[in-house]
Amino acid sequence: MPSSLSVDLHKVSKSVNLAIPVLFVLFLGAGIYLSFYFHFLTVTFLFLTLLNIFYQHVQTDHTILRNFGLLGQARYILESIGPEMRQYLFANDLEERPFSREERSEVYRKAKNVDSASSFGSQREFDTSEMKVRHSMFPTPADALQPYSVTYGEERGLDSAYTIKHPIMISAMSYGALGSNAVRSLARGAKHAEIPMNTGEGGYPKYHLMEGCDLIFQLGTAKFGVRTADGHLDEAKLAEIAAQPAVKMVEIKFSQGAKPGKGGLLPKEKITDEIAELRGVSKDQDVVSPPSHIECDTVENTVKFIAKVQTVSALPTGFKLCVGNIMEFEALVVEMKRQEVFPDFITVDGAEGGTGAAPKAFLDGVGMPLAPGLHAVNAMLKKHGVRDRMKLNASGKLVSPGRQIMAMALGADAIYSARGFMLSLGCIQALQCGNNTCPIGITTHDPELQKGLVIESRAPRIANYVHNAEHDLEELLRATGCRSFSELTEANLYIPPNTLIRDPQLDAVLHAQAS
């Protein structure tokens, strides 16, 4: 309803657009008749007049500029600083995505070794749509806690069986997605914290190896670093990488939560000469990995491929996937039993997983979230009696101990986090990872931006985060009354009745005849 003081932007800009050439003429006259110094303003308004003519009558790309002239630029200016304005001024503590200010703040404080206790009360909904941990009336005493220890490959009796002593590991982030300073900071931090780091699918882990931490080599669908010319596995190259003493395990990536059913994506803005060489790709197109391993076209061939990688690498070998179709996963389990080939671990990535770049439809709408996916994998393995033949890792927005312990109660033996560690490095959730413009220098190869990320000062943050998160995890474990994380089950969780982990496909399969 128009009131006497309302602003009609169209009228305002029409007045301004009229005023500009009028002022040009006025100052021209003033310069001629009053003082030559007025011509500074004459020139300015002449330029603005010409600019406005271009905006309103010549260019056709920007309608706002055609209709509003010079003032229309305000929209584009404000739009471009919109994300920053929202993050700094307008969003509340729970609003930002993917991680709210509250969630990020917890990680930042753990990384800086600042107490992250909160006050007054939780900001959550408590409307029975959220999962909670059931605590016990009889918490476990500290000395009754069993120290955490998970050994991959023990089921097969491998000499190269690998033991981790902390429940959190750095999940896959390739060199390419991250810049070299970020990779090295994470690797150095992993060494301090004594946790392994997943190399991501970027090929030969040149920068990861520089810092001496334990590595999990990821074999993505493009098989960077271990591929033949036509995309098959180059066994010699794999054996060579696996022989590196720092490489402790191999993870075959079938899919990831951020873009399940699609291969990895590295935008061309981020392909430096070095990356083009390390991966064997050209610089002028996005690097798109194939959606699946070329050898893995059937369930039978998939299991055979797992066996081959296990043999060639002679290391604990598992695979990573985001759960899609439960029946397919069951067929995989059945085939594994038939061939007597079991991965040493399965990493379940929830659809809420992160990435440097992914098509929006895949990022938002494809794949099962972590809770139902992990629950389904765990249930399926148990149904076929093979759960004890391998370990389960979980990943997907597991940055805070609250969520981490829920994943463990749902069946995970260990936790992978990627963005938790990026936040520890100082990530501010600018959401620019794919543009090569990361303001913190983490997901960019621009040397000017990477200069801000100093490895020596960032690496300790990683160790702090792991140490403080593990401390919280232990306290949570004690609160449940269990003595070790392996004792946790779904009974330790309050799971709201009609949400979160019930999957109709899984229910149908579980109630069918066991094979």
Binding site: Q59, T60, D61
Partner: protein, 135 residues
């Protein structure tokens, strides 16, 4: 850099045109004093203009800020052209100076146009050529 070598030649020409007056301006030469007094501007005036011309010359040579130098140069030359047209005319030595001012003015406009993708206000004029083909 999308601009070719030709644009650097244009930039250098403008730098020479603007730059060669600087000596006269900063040494209070009689020609400068006389010229500017016809415009009603004293020492402050031509030293100010001279400083701005110096800044324009520098900007025109530093990659990344070249279009800003062209904008500043264009502005100064517009003032010069206005001065010639309205006060000092084109006879005698003014003819030579006036011609150089017009040349620099045109070249600065050209530099701004060619390098428009490097300037925030002008980036939207990018696809004019294609649009003219369609219309």
């Amino acid at each position: 850099m999308k601009a070719s070598k030709l644009i650097w030649i244009a930039q250098l020409i403008v730098v020479v045109i603007l730059g060669q007056t600087l000596f006269f301006k900063f040494t209070d030469s009689p020609e400068t004093v006389e010229l500017f007094s016809r415009l009603g501007m004293g020492a402050f005036g031509y030293k100010l203009i001279g400083s701005l011309e110096l800044v324009a010359c520098l900007l025109l040579l530093i990659p990344g800020v070249i279009p800003w130098g062209a904008l500043l140069g264009w502005g100064l030359m517009t003032g010069a052209v206005i001065a010639h047209v309205t006060e000092i005319g084109f006879e005698g030595p003014m003819g030579q100076l006036g011609t150089m001012a017009i040349v620099a003015w045109l070249l600065c406009a050209l530099i701004m146009y060619v390098r428009r993708s490097e300037m925030p206000l002008l980036r939207c004029i990018n696809r004019n050529e294609k649009n003219e083909l369609n219309s």
